[in-house]
Symmetry: C2
Subunit: 228 residues, 2 copies
Amino acid sequence: MTRSIWPPRGVRLVAKRLLSFARPVHGVNVSAVTSPLVWEHVQPAAARRLLTGAVDAFAERGFQATTTRDIASRAGMSPAALYVHYPSKERLLFEISLYGHNAALEILRSADTGPTPADRLRSLVSAFTAWHAQHHTIARVVQYELAALSPEHLAEVATIRRAISTQIEQVLADGVHDGSFAVADLPGTTLAVLSLSIDVARWYTPHRGDPESLGKLYADLAHRMVQT
Amino acid sequence: MTRSIWPPRGVRLVAKRLLSFARPVHGVNVSAVTSPLVWEHVQPAAARRLLTGAVDAFAERGFQATTTRDIASRAGMSPAALYVHYPSKERLLFEISLYGHNAALEILRSADTGPTPADRLRSLVSAFTAWHAQHHTIARVVQYELAALSPEHLAEVATIRRAISTQIEQVLADGVHDGSFAVADLPGTTLAVLSLSIDVARWYTPHRGDPESLGKLYADLAHRMVQT
DNA sequence: GTCTATAAGGAGATAGAC
DNA sequence: GTCTATCTCCTTATAGAC
């Protein structure tokens, strides 16, 4: 699967840091604002402003409800200027989704450490959950805007999703193998563990607590789900 | 909060049964078709066909991406005919969302039975999870289209959401009180238990297994999360 | 209650000046 | 690289015939 001809100027998406706010509704995050600091390496700055504006708008209203005028005005530009940096609104979504999926996978890969399957599971769930809280605007786009991707872009992202799923499944399988976990339904339990963290993107707002504490709580809950 | 002047002809939404199909993508349900059998008591039949068409379309593409032409054509009508039965596209969403929230709450209320908190929790999680699987098209609209509701309609639905949350929290509190549960963070664990079931709406397709088995698995996982 | 026709406005994307 | 202006198409919703 080629990345095609876009972006043309060596744009690189590298994670840094993200701050966010949100207006809470019971059990649901209906609004959010993202700081541009995560996207520091998207160049030039105008492309980065468009991208962060798009993340905020997509997270807050959804892809379809977001207009190119909305994205452009968040970046302080006219609608036409968007097309100098991105060939379409969908490409903007794809860049965000691809970066977000890769970031989530990287988080898991570097968290898969520890002497026992229990340690590894706790580390994985803690990191994956905290990422979904910390980066909940990006995570909302990643988890809930897949249907707006073109079939080709969806296929590319689905490959990364499979790798994410495999990362969790392997730890559970290892724990079953060495007798430290009791898992009646491996695929079902894998999905449940992933599910718990992913759903954080739906409801998280900063007033719900800090991402690290949430990660610890969820690591504990996930471990309890499988321990013998 | 009044139900206002709509619907004008004593339309009643009563749960019956629902069958569904979906095209699977890795970890995500991007397509779904709902049978009209759940909405049997929405009268007249034309209003019911519009409603079921709207459920399918909203679940598959989201509220904003769904056009009134799409809904009308699924019901075998011209776009204009929609407005004889519903005053706007948003009202159609509200009817679905209100019915869905009430149905989910009723499921919980009638499942809150058993001699011990553990029995009650297993029954609640099993029923709530199975409902989200069985009625995953409705559940998708219920859980993921809240932002498209008008502020007044959102407020009405938020009241029901609070009742749903309270239902779970009370059982956990009862288990902590009688010593059968160990819960470090009651609101956080309540949210996690709800979250596990709710996220089923995002990924469930019939090929993932039957709703009852999934309910049993999730009841077990939720119980493990809190037992001493 | 359903249709055809259409109003009124907004959408994504492009042209061409600067 | 950004702007203003605009193209073309599609949107929600209404008017009025049958």
